[in-house]
Subunit: 337 residues, 2 copies
DNA sequence: ATTCGCTGTCGAAGCGCTTCGACAGCCTAT
DNA sequence: ATAGGCTGTCGAAGCGCTTCGACAGCGAAT
């Protein structure tokens, strides 16, 4: 393994000079710099990460905590993870993958050991156990999601409240009076994941304003669960003509079931989904949807952290405005309803 | 930040003693050990990762390289990543997430800098550019996937050759004579990803043995692409009664299209999928499928690496035997065919 | 009683890097 | 001609840990 000292010797300069060439923290003459860079290339030198971390108290690693469970939004998670990893590399950082399993202990471990310089947390609950720790450490962090109180925290998320409202507005404008919300799995509500509740709140309050009736039903993904949920919905509100689907793994089953029951989309029933665009366009009916901007959130999280680590930037909460794209799954409410 | 020295002072022992308590590499009297452990707890000590890595040349980190592209098997990737992270933690390792984007450079960077002690590579191509580097470094690695030559490498993968054969056998036994294979996206074949080709080979050679005709068509995921592909298939081989689907994002579209065309599954047409069990049971028809053992592969990869880092274990290629689960999407070939 | 071999603990060196203060040499302003 | 200010380079200290050799103390074997 090639060391700094060997590079220095090869280039005929001192170790500190090589270090300054690498970091750019002091000015170096062009000739010296080139000589050093040449030596680095010839010897195939890579700085030792541990030594660097020890001396500088900087690991150049960002920790990403993803939920262990796979009961929701797998593609979204993946997209965020990839955006985080890619953006981090652009700024010279690597990404450490933590699962939610360890919970608060993972936060303690990472901040205590200097494993990472900063953290990104996903799957944030309203009263998340990890928050107190984040508030008291001076390590920067970004939440992807929105807890009950955001004081002293930085968060990014889609504005799910506005998203819910937007879906309602769209359906209301088309003349629908009775809509059903196919929500996330019950477990998601039970652990008070912010986004699911906020969607519902936004949706209900706008519905009240525009005089629209809303029936909300949590739903596991998959065909069988959706079949049961759908039956209940039509049982309770036979006049339902609009659907808002938040659980993306319920989208395709819903479409299939409606088709099977002879209800045409969008002639008889309209469907709005909250899902990544890719899912919306690959579905069997091109879905009117509000996109989940996974990449944007991942990128933002990293860039905010990098800014903070560079001494720029401050705490803030960024709610991304939802955009609804009209595709082929929504249309005017049928006359008779 | 609490240091080893502070713990030592608090416990009234030397720093090295604390270190030995932590590592267990020398025997320590019970009383001393307890005193030290008490101090560690009281002070909330966490060893500094950089210092530890520097002194021991061990980072306790395993690098996981996942493909950047999301054109295939997102849930499988995610499942593997989570299994890797979870298993790694069990053995005291953390996971560094690398994207395929950097290619061979990532391998160089990681081995050169001592960032990680070992690597797991996914999305392996037959003649992967990263392989020469892996062969020449002494850092242990595991490939999830199978390249053209495995000498000097450790690999785990589902036995896709046997998987293809198994699918054919199942359909043959049910009396099907003409089957179609809905493959991965063309790009997957173009970059010579091993598993896709091996599936096809296994499938074709068994088909030859049992006298079955096979038509293979690559297919992007999604409804539109599947519609085009399906039309071509029936155009060319109207007598097709069996399908093997490798691209999991084509499964649901295929089922929907068949239904739409009035072809009943499994009465008129049988479908076998190669996909995670979760996908198979959540589909609109419970699918007869060969499972992709994502968790098992992830776990195996980590455990093999840990063994190697502990000086146990050796190079080997593990091909997991496929298991076909019969569900509701396959049945006897229709009489007239 | 002396030697031998344990067990448990300590001190010190060193891992490879960053960074601070020092300073040589040169140019500009007086 | 001299002082002052730059620019570019160097040496040394130190980051927090692991690990090696040394050795004190003790019981067992001679």
């Amino acid at each position: 393994m090639v060391t700094l000292a060997e590079v220095a010797q090869h280039a005929g300069v001192s170790a500190s000079t090589v270090s300054y060439v690498l970091s750019g923290k002091r000015s170096i003459s062009t000739t010296t710099r080139q000589r050093v860079e040449q030596s680095i290339r010839e010897l195939g030198y890579h700085p030792n990460a541990g030594a660097r971390a020890l001396a500088s108290s900087r690991s150049n690693i960002i920790a990403l905590m993803i939920p262990l469970r796979t009961d929701m939004y797998v593609p979204v998670m993946m997209e965020i993870a990839i955006a985080v990893a890619t953006t981090a590399r652009l700024h010279g950082y690597d990404v450490l993958l933590l699962t939610g399993e360890e919970g608060p202990d993972a936060v303690r471990r990472v901040t205590g050991s200097g494993l990472a310089d900063a953290m990104i947390l996903m799957d944030v609950e309203l009263e998340d156990e990890r928050l107190p720790l984040l508030r008291q450490t001076d390590q920067p962090s970004v939440l992807i999601g929105l807890p009950a109180s955001t004081s002293g925290l930085t968060c990014v998320d889609l504005d799910f409240g506005a998203t819910g409202a937007l879906c309602v507005e769209h359906l209301a404008k088309l003349g629908h009076r009775d809509i059903a919300v196919v929500g996330e799995a019950p477990a998601v509500y039970e652990r008070h994941t912010g986004f699911a509740e906020r969607t519902l709140d936004g949706l209900r309050s706008r519905a009240r304003e525009v005089g629209l009736r809303v029936l909300h039903r949590p739903c596991e993904g998959g065909y069988d669960a959706m079949a049961v949920t759908l039956a209940r919905i039509f049982d309770e509100r036979p006049g339902t003509t609009g659907f808002v689907v938040q659980n993306e793994s319920a989208v395709e089953p819903l479409l299939a079931l409606l088709r099977q029951q002879g209800r045409a989309v969008p002639e008889d029933v309209s469907v709005v989904a909250i899902c990544p665009d890719q899912v919306a366009v690959q579905a069997s009916v091109r879905l009117t949807s509000v996109a989940i901007p996974a990449q944007e959130m991942g990128r933002y999280a990293v860039e905010h952290l990098v800014a903070k680590l560079d001494g720029r930037g401050s705490d803030e909460v960024v709610l991304i405005a939802p955009e609804l794209t009209v595709r082929a799954s929504t249309g005017p409410a049928p006359a008779g309803s």
